[in-house]
């Protein structure tokens, strides 16, 4: 939950991820990490900080800039008894290595008729908002979630970040772990303080495939993931001041997708707004709206809305990018428009 008391142990998402990996590596020799700049640098986004110091270069492997080689190597290692965690530095780079991901990692369990397991985690950064332009700012949630054979998760806060990472490493199927740069707690990127929450020191898991109701409400359901959750929570505060009671759902996991939590919420509120920083068309927002409509369209008191990134490449200039990004004001406006 996002409400924490001041005496609690708040971590950044970056630290929560690193802590989870370290704890699992201490108890499971099969876990190792590969990726670019994940060793001495501790990951460009801080999520492997401290690992090479504790576990050494054998288990914390800086790779050449060869994503096809090291991600498909992770597939091979996973099928041979290891449990690799690999990093694709920015999700935007998937273009150079997607075969390893969607044709190998995602399909080898199926192709083998279940003889093999592919216990690996592919962690990758998403999101913009800091003017990194169109090859370093995308979310691409829908692109990954569309393709069968891989679980897809995206935490909105440090508690979930740690528990999801632990669950992902213990899963016998491949998991794409998408962390939003704006939630990492890296000051140099700008960061959402709401992501730094109480995070227990002992290890625990957060169930993959279960959404969370972060705020209960009766008038409208706001559904989001990662940064979208924080925009939704801000919008809910704003709506509350205007006497509107918004329920906020954090999807946490896209595959499997917890359709039931969304359906139950909309059955109660009758209104649905999906917040997604990924491109508007053919993505998460369409899937959530379809889920509700397919189940029982009569529950809807108004046509559903989505607050998403328009279907254009992401521009560099700050004003143009901010114009395109979802934010709390756009969510409030969408509600008013219903």
């Amino acid at each position: 939950m996002l409400d924490t008391k001041s005496n609690e142990r708040r971590l950044t998402v970056a630290r929560a991820m690193a802590e989870s990996i370290a704890q699992e590596m201490r108890v499971d020799d099969r876990v190792f990490v590969m990726g670019e700049d994940i060793g001495d640098l501790g990951g460009v986004f801080g999520n492997t900080r401290g690992l090479v110091e504790e576990f050494g270069k054998d288990r914390i492997r800086d790779t050449p800039i060869s994503e096809t080689a090291f991600i498909s190597a992770a597939v091979g290692a996973a099928m041979d008894g290891m449990r690799p965690v690999v990093e694709l530095m920015f999700v935007d780079f998937f273009g150079v290595c997607f075969d390893a991901i969607y044709n190998l990692m995602a399909k080898n369990i199926y192709f083998s008729g279940g003889q093999s397991s592919v216990p690996m985690v592919l962690m990758t950064s998403t999101g913009g908002g800091y003017s990194d332009a169109g090859q370093h700012s995308q979310c691409l949630y829908g692109s990954f979630a569309h393709l069968p054979g891989m679980k897809v998760v995206s935490p909105s806060n440090a508690y979930d970040a740690k528990g999801l990472m632990t669950a992902a490493m213990r899963d016998d199927s491949p998991v794409i772990y998408m962390y939003h740069k704006g939630l990492q707690g890296m000051g140099w990127l700008g960061t959402e303080p709401g992501a730094n929450v109480n995070t227990p020191e002992s290890d625990y898991t957060v169930e993959i495939g279960k959404a969370k109701v972060l705020r209960e409400g009766t008038d409208v359901t706001l559904v989001g993931l990662a940064m979208g959750v924080h925009n939704a929570l801000k919008a809910a505060d704003n709506l509350a001041e205007q006497g509107v009671s918004a329920e906020v759902i954090d999807l946490v996991s896209l595959v499997p997708l917890d359709r039931e939590t969304v359906i139950n919420s909309v059955a109660k509120t009758g209104r649905l707004i999906v917040v997604d920083e990924d491109y508007n068309s053919y993505g998460v927002s369409g899937e959530i709206i379809t889920t509700v409509c397919e189940h029982d369209i009569s529950k809807l008191k108004a046509a559903p809305k989505r607050v998403t990134y328009p279907d254009v490449p992401i521009p560099f200039a700050r004003n143009m990018e901010q114009f395109c990004l979802p934010n709390a004001d756009k969510i409030v406006a969408a509600y008013k428009d219903m």
Partner: protein
């Protein structure tokens, strides 16, 4: 093949323009980013990869190119762009994200495109190699002259796209030159830790093309070897691979604390800064007197200041421009 006096002075001038440009960007980039450094703030937000120290590569190669030749550049493109003749004012404005920029603010520093001089960029590692082959193929098929140069970092040679493009260029005998800027680091990972061979010129043999390695960031040697390679390409004899030892005098990007770099490494590189050493050589060889070089330097600074002022004075594009120019007009 040695550079004429004019070529030497052109190389020096462009090295100085490039350095003054980077120094200026470096200063402005920090505006609005202190006391807390947040990349999103200031007149120039986002990532910033400076090319300080790598100027000899750009000028030594581009001295042989005309505006009709093609260059594909990287995430670290300013020196290459300046040497290729990209419009400096419009490039500065693009880096500021202004409407007067090359792309109206859509691209920014990692996506410098100037079709007037056939210059394009990609921020994805090694992804300039394929387009360079394609442009070279296009010239061949259209019976038009022209050579394509793909710049890449030494870290990028471990990317599949580089190897596929090398083979394609060789098997089709395309007029392409692959220029690897070896600044010893791919972000925090050293060449030795990422690459199985100490020098990448040996990889040329795998594709049946000539390979060269140039030591010590020497603009004269770069001019000579690049000249031979480009002449060879123009003559229809096919591609060449050149690796050039150069110096990264800045962090990988601005804000990089560079804790991974061995103590003293950078100081030693500053001792070998190619700009003062070229100045000394120009004087020693009698190519110019001190007053002549002072004037080149003053003019370079003035050009940079004019470009930066143009960028500062320009407006941002209307927000809605974000939605335009997705498809061809």
């Amino acid at each position: 093949m040695s550079p004429t006096k004019e070529q030497q002075l052109w190389m020096y001038e462009n090295m100085v323009v490039s350095r003054r440009f980077e120094e200026s960007i470096e200063k402005i980039y920090m505006e609005g980013k202190s006391p807390a450094f947040n990349m999103a703030n200031g007149p120039i937000p986002g990532e910033m990869h400076l090319s300080n120290g790598q100027e000899p590569v750009a000028v030594g190669v581009c001295a042989h190119l005309t505006k009709d030749d093609i260059v594909t550049a990287t995430h670290r493109p300013h020196h290459q762009a300046i040497a290729k003749g990209v419009d400096l004012k419009k490039m500065a404005a693009e880096i500021f994200g202004k409407v007067t920029g090359l792309s109206g603010g859509r691209g920014g520093h990692m996506h410098i495109f100037d079709s007037n001089v056939n210059f394009a960029c990609s921020g994805i590692i090694a992804q300039g190699c394929g387009p360079a082959c394609g442009a070279a193929l296009s010239r061949k098929m259209q019976n038009k002259p022209g050579v394509a140069v793909a710049f890449l970092g030494e870290g990028a040679v471990n990317q599949g796209a580089f190897h596929e493009a090398m083979n394609l260029a060789a098997v089709w005998k395309l007029p392409v030159v692959f220029v690897v800027e070896d600044n010893a680091w791919g972000i925090s990972v050293s060449k030795a830790d990422s690459t199985a061979v100490p020098r990448n010129d040996v990889r040329a043999a795998a594709y049946g093309m000539p390979g060269h390695f140039i030591e010590n960031n020497d603009p004269y040697a770069i001019f000579e070897i690049a000249g031979q390679a480009i002449e060879r390409a123009r003559a229809g004899e096919g591609p060449t691979l050149i690796e050039i030892e150069t110096f990264r005098l800045a962090g990988h990007f601005m804000g990089d604390a560079e804790g991974y770099r061995p103590e003293g490494e950078k100081d030693a590189l500053f001792e070998k800064d190619p700009i003062p050493s070229m100045r000394e050589r120009l004087l020693a060889d009698g190519v110019s007197d001190a007053a002549g070089l002072d004037k080149i330097e003053a003019d370079a600074l003035a050009r940079v200041e004019e470009a930066i002022q143009f960028a500062r004075d320009s407006e941002y594009a209307p927000d809605e421009d974000a939605l335009t120019s997705v498809f061809a007009a």
